[in-house]
């Protein structure tokens, strides 16, 4: 199979890295009902892309890519924290806050993209063509992604971000579970609610930014929902749910890769479709078990 071709190894590893990040986070995302925040942050990242382009970082070199990632990441973390703060000041209406930040960031992203584009129109023609191509490529990659474009730099970035996210989740696991389970009361037991909530949002923003560079904005949010949503139908023990989530995320990535490659479908959407099928399977088996128990 060609997926085991050396050229595809970075793509497969980046995909597995994203799966490793998405698996535990998705359990929190689903239980804490943060799925829409994931969408909000991934679309808000578009504003960060606009800022990076206006500042001239179109990802054409390694330094360029790193700077672009840092800008997008900072913008996304900022967006997540603004969503949380607006939600708190708006009597907990987080959906309104997401709607505002998402649309404002998308609008900013498009305007900045246009500014960057028109600036190049006025530049030397020889450079303009190349710069245009860069910008369009960046926008397309950000929206839809192409996992097969993943290079070794992306693999390392994903692994470092993954290690960071997994370490933070393990380090703060008791506080995060307490906060997620019983936010109104955790402060009375010394778990600082805003700080713990912001920590989870920052990890989520980091995961979204890493995922969207591999599979694009539209699919990133799915990867941060599906494994956890499926796993929660398969067990009532948190530890087992986490293991199922990991199995579905990693298994879905490998199977999506194989199917996509064999049928010449795009790999990212194939992964998401496989994980969606896993979700339907888990839901079905849960319902079937329930029906068996009640009969």
């Amino acid at each position: 199979m060609s997926i085991f071709h050396a050229d595809h190894l970075p793509a497969l590893l980046a995909g597995l890295g994203i799966a490793l990040i998405g698996a535990p986070l998705s359990v929190f995302v689903v239980l804490k009902r943060l799925a829409f925040i994931g969408q909000g942050v991934s679309h808000a990242a578009f504003g960060g892309v606009g800022v990076a382009l206006v500042l001239g970082f179109a990802g054409s070199s390694v330094t360029d890519s790193v700077m672009q990632s840092i800008i997008i990441l900072s913008f996304s973390i900022g967006a997540a924290l603004v969503i949380a703060a607006l939600g708190r000041s708006n009597r907990g209406r987080i959906d309104t806050a997401i709607g505002i930040v998402l649309s404002a960031s998308m609008a900013l992203g498009f305007i900045l993209f246009n500014i960057a584009e028109s600036r190049h129109d006025h530049d030397d023609h020889g450079h303009a063509h190349g710069a245009h191509a860069d910008e369009h490529h960046v926008i397309e990659e950000i929206l839809f992604g192409n996992i097969l474009d993943a290079n070794w730099n992306m693999v390392w970035a994903t692994l470092v971000a993954g290690a960071l996210i997994l370490t933070a989740l393990w380090w703060f696991r008791h506080k995060l579970v307490f906060w997620s389970f019983d936010e109104p009361v955790c402060a009375a037991y010394g778990v600082r609610e805003y700080r713990t909530g912001n920590l989870l949002l920052i990890l989520l923003a980091l995961a979204v930014v890493m995922s969207m560079q591999v599979v694009g904005v539209i699919l990133a949010a799915a990867i941060l929902v599906l494994p956890g949503a499926a796993a929660l139908h398969l067990s009532s023990r948190l530890r087992v749910v986490m293991i199922w989530s990991l199995a579905i995320a990693l298994g879905g990535t490998v199977i999506g890769f194989v199917i996509g490659d064999a049928s010449h479908w795009p790999i990212g959407p194939s992964i998401v479709l496989v994980q969606s099928c896993a979700y339907l399977g888990a839901l079905g088996s849960n319902k079937a078990m329930g029906a068996l128990r009640s009969s």
Binding site: L31, F172, F181, Y189, G190, L238
Partner: protein, 290 residues
């Protein structure tokens, strides 16, 4: 610095406390919820805080828990600032509404262990002492049979007992219960009050129960504080007179008197007891409830 001797200190010492919520919108003024509160709760007391909705009961609880800071005055819990007392695990708390997300795949025992686990370093496991506290709480609240049950599969009463077990798992010296018998029938209230008696006696707890229900209060408390923006009364339940209740529950006096049959003649400061059914007796109370 020496640790304060907790046997000599009041469990809760509230001095000249006032609290005002900040304005929530443009053109709005902050709302003064509490003013001029001074109260001392002695160890091993079961204090009932009685007052109408919006009278500041839950706010006072949040101040005692250190979740809110007073705008004026001071509060100490066993000689510590509330945040310190909370950090030391001296306070157990049962909120008015159980706002926990019951979809979480957690067992009853995992939920009860949460406050102690949250204090652990990432690499630590529960100590034998902590595990013993959890087992004791499970035993006292009679949830042993439910240890492994999923938290979302409990009945309302089982869930409340689990949450009280969680509140006492940290070996607190003060237990704060906010409207614990809201919507519970009379038989349930009696079972609840004997449960609180048992826990308080076994663990040597000081207990504060907040309620707007006279029946619940009389069943549980050996001291009563009446709160409606300011403190109207702080004494034993026997001293609760219709005049005091008239001050606190300005509009609800009739149904409450009907429910608990408080003897109007016990209104000791009142020259004419007959007046006490309908009017206050001219006591000099601050912050009349309206």
């Amino acid at each position: 610095m020496n640790e304060p001797d907790q046997n000599q200190l009041p469990a809760v010492d509230i001095r000249d406390v006032a609290f005002r919520y900040p304005p929530s919108g443009v053109g709005e003024q902050g709302i003064e919820v509490l003013s001029d509160i001074t109260m001392r709760v002695q160890p091993n007391t079961r204090l009932g805080i009685l007052g109408p909705n919006g009278g500041g009961k839950s706010t006072l609880i949040k101040l005692i828990l250190g979740i809110l800071e007073p705008n004026a005055g001071e509060i100490s819990v066993f000689g510590h600032r509330p945040t310190q007392a909370r950090r030391k695990g001296l306070i157990g708390y049962l909120p008015q509404r159980i706002g926990a997300d019951l979809d979480w795949p957690l067992s009853v025992e995992q939920v009860i262990a949460m406050p102690l686990r949250a204090k652990l370093k990432p690499w630590q496991k529960l100590s034998d002492e902590d595990q013993a506290s959890i087992d004791r709480a499970i035993e006292l609240l009679e949830v042993d049979q439910l240890r492994d049950r999923r938290i979302g599969a409990l009945s309302g009463g089982q869930l409340q007992r689990t949450m009280i077990a969680r509140a006492i798992s940290t070996r607190p010296k003060l237990l704060v219960l906010d409207e614990p018998t809201l919507g519970v029938d009379i038989a349930g209230q009696q079972r609840f009050s004997s449960l609180i008696d048992t826990i308080s006696d076994e663990l040597g707890l000081t207990t504060i129960v907040v309620t707007h229900d006279m029946r619940a209060l009389v069943a549980v408390a050996d001291r009563v504080a009446c709160l409606s923006r300011t403190l109207h009364f702080h004494d034993t339940p026997d001293g609760l007179t219709p005049a005091v209740l008239a001050q606190v529950f300005a509009h609800d006096i009739e149904p409450i008197l009907g429910a608990v049959h408080i003897d109007a003649h016990a209104a000791d400061d009142c020259d004419d007891p007959a007046h006490a059914h309908h009017h206050d007796c001219g006591h000099d109370h601050k912050g009349d409830a309206s």
